[in-house]
Amino acid sequence: MDNDRTQIQRILGGDQRAFEALINDHRKLVFHVVARIIPNRSDREEICQDVFVKVYQNLSKFQFESKLSTWIARIAYNTSLSYLEKKRLMLYEDLKTEEDDAEYPMAADAWHEEEGVDEKLMEREIRGVLETEITRLPVHYRTVLTLYHVDELSYEEIGSVMNMPQGTVKSYLFRARRMLKESLLTQYREEELRV
């Protein structure tokens, strides 16, 4: 929090490098939120830019009631939702194109050398299926999953980002995981999942 304060003071004092550092510190977080909500890859960079322009314009209003990263994630979340509303996209529709399905890299590095080729192929397939299923979840579920599992925000922080009680965050997280699990179980036999 003290680091946040120092960085913000420098930016408010006109230090451009400090703002550049803030962007580089938070660009991944912003991208994760935007990418989970915005279906069109070509729009994401501009929306991420919008987020940081808003951060800059509103920085003097930041009251240190939360971590700076939480505040920035909230701006990313609200900006993405506003974009969707402007585009009149349905929040609960299938937002992804086939091209987008390949955006999350397979964890090839995590595969063990001793595993058989078939097992690797099956694991890769299962991961692909999961990615597709994730994109079919409601936007709030996808956002909760990303903030919790990828960005490792606490329930409280996610609640602050998405303006909802912690109980709702937990409920969304639980339901989203269960939906994904059920989806896997309906598509694969037990032995296929034992990889």
Partner: protein
């Protein structure tokens, strides 16, 4: 023990604190159905924890700063237009007022008198002698000063 619930299995897969963890683990040792469910949850969480490949361009930060500077320039343009508008609004009646001194319209004379009062007030605050020409210089200096202040503010975070 009964089969583990989804809530328990999710918590175990996520490594979260679980009150009845030992009891659940004992059950898992003898129940392949629950072990399978737990395995699927673990697979799921492994995928969920993978960060998406970031697609932002390498010069992303520079682009953002460029956009902010551009919007600052736009704000400055608005200020310039605003200042030009004020000058026109003041200048036009003054021109008319000057002409009026040669005997033109009553409206122009009134405008001149009002403006002259404003400038005298400015001049008196600035300790200038109450002279119309000096008042005009003081008012112009004040306007330029305010303009520069506004431009500086436009470049800072709002």
């Amino acid at each position: 023990m009964k089969h583990g619930t989804d809530k328990q299995l999710q918590a175990l897969a996520a490594g979260e604190l679980l009150d009845d963890r030992k009891e659940l683990e004992s059950h898992l040792a003898v129940c392949s159905a629950c072990r399978h469910q737990l395995h699927v949850y673990r697979q799921l969480m492994s995928v969920l924890a993978e960060a998406p490949a970031e697609e932002l361009s390498p010069n992303f930060a520079s682009s953002v700063i460029g956009r902010i500077e551009e919007s600052g320039s736009r704000a400055m343009n608005y200020l310039e237009w605003g200042l030009a508008s004020i000058i026109v609004l003041i200048g036009v009646p003054m021109v008319f007022a000057y002409i009026d001194r040669e005997g033109l319209t009553t409206l122009a004379r009134d405008s001149w008198l009002v403006l002259a009062d404003v400038f005298r007030s400015v001049a008196s605050v600035s300790s200038f002698p109450v002279d119309t020409n000096l008042s005009l210089i003081a008012a112009a200096a004040l306007a330029v000063g305010l303009y520069h202040l506004a431009v500086r503010l436009a470049f800072r975070p709002r």
